[in-house]
Symmetry: C2
């Protein structure tokens, strides 16, 4: 068995969002990530491997390929033995009425989204709601950087203003001129909205969000840059969750 | 004026640590980062720009180059008008006796180091001490991701075990089996040691560090991956500093 021309074309096409959406498939690579996804409820479409002695593909229908073939379909600098095509699960339109929801407004960087999905997983946030212009969670860089957390967080892409207007939970965001997060009384049931890397949340969203929180700076206030969106999310999720201890 | 062959060679050589150390120079790119560094105490070696109307290079001795020349010396996907060579400041061997010191034990990823330097700047941590095998802070990816914070944090590369053995400050680290950070009484004067992306802190260091802190997980304990080192650092710095409010 080896890699057909059609499959090579299919797999490389999945680097683009439009083909992922058309084929309802996404790519995951490397032993660690593929193994985690195989242990999840995701449906497998194809598994390609250069090493048929890998234990975790025992009993799975895989295709043995050469190192050279793997290089052709991999986006990693160092391809790592296995590449899987998985089916993108059907999304129910409805957002589960969670107690705590993290919302992203136009987060663009795949690495940041991946890190934020891992944070959700760590802090038990099972519901992540994204604006439609947030980077696709099946983007290969996101899949690789989530390290499997992807399967434990439900991610929806919605029209944010109407979602936020329809919720009954209190809505918070990070803002340079908000209340000090360390001295604010934070509720256990809430929505936290985090914004774009360069511009923060959009004006439209800012008008909807009632509660603004500031992470105080301790450095030189004149000069310090803002925090990266993933580290700010880490600190704020930690603040919302620490009250539960 | 334009770019000489020798300068082209010099600049591209600075992508490697050994040449940065030999020449005592590093590269910074793009309007935002170069502007910040020009406003710092760093000494300029050379400024190259495609746009001599940029206000912040007024009065500075620069070399006008073409878009094509900039492309040749840039490591950015989208070169952004200006590239500067700056002198690596001489390091005093001594570590200033700060109240709070962040220590990194073999952090390898330039993006993580950059994010951590920004965190130091935000939280007023002016002293960052790294093991000798931590990624070089003048690595171009680090310089780009610090967004200027690099000039406000003093970074030293030292023999970590002897540094930690010689300090009188209490030494903390992150550990899966430590005390709950949310319920621990944290001192204002302390050293926090963060470890390698894959392996955490080394065994040698672990034996020296007395106080181990855990960021509790709220997710599925069986499955959740560990936190990324930059997000864990964000949460722990926030915990050390929030007691000062």
């Amino acid at each position: 068995m080896s890699l057909s021309k059609n499959n090579l074309k299919l797999i490389t096409s999945l680097q683009q969002k439009k083909y992922r959406q058309k084929q309802k498939l996404f790519v995951a690579e490397g032993i660690k990530v593929v193994k985690e996804l195989l242990n999840s409820s995701l449906e497998i479409s194809q598994i390609y491997t250069t090493d048929d002695s890998l234990e975790f593909i025992n009993g799975i229908d895989f295709t043995k390929i050469s190192e050279n073939e793997l290089k052709k379909i991999s986006t990693l600098k160092k391809p790592n033995k296995v590449l899987g095509l998985f089916k993108i699960p059907e999304k129910s339109e409805e957002i589960i009425n969670s107690n705590f929801i993290l919302v992203l407004d136009e987060v663009n960087d795949p690495g940041n989204l991946g890190t934020i999905i891992r944070l959700c997983d760590w802090f038990g946030v099972t519901e992540l709601v994204c604006s439609k212009n947030t980077v696709d969670c099946y983007n290969q860089k996101v899949v690789q950087s989530t390290m499997g957390s992807l399967t434990r967080v439900t991610i929806s892409y919605v029209d944010l203003p109407s979602f936020l207007l329809s919720t009954t939970l209190p809505v918070y965001t990070a803002d340079m001129n908000g209340d000090n997060v360390y001295t604010s009384k934070l509720p256990q049931k809430a929505i936290l909205v985090m914004g774009n890397e360069a511009n923060g949340i959009s004006e439209e969203i800012s008008e909807i969000v009632k509660h603004k929180l500031t992470i105080p700076r301790f450095g030189d206030i004149q000069q310090t840059e803002s925090l990266n969106v993933a580290t700010a999310t880490a600190i704020l999720l930690s603040e919302f969750k620490r009250v539960m201890i």
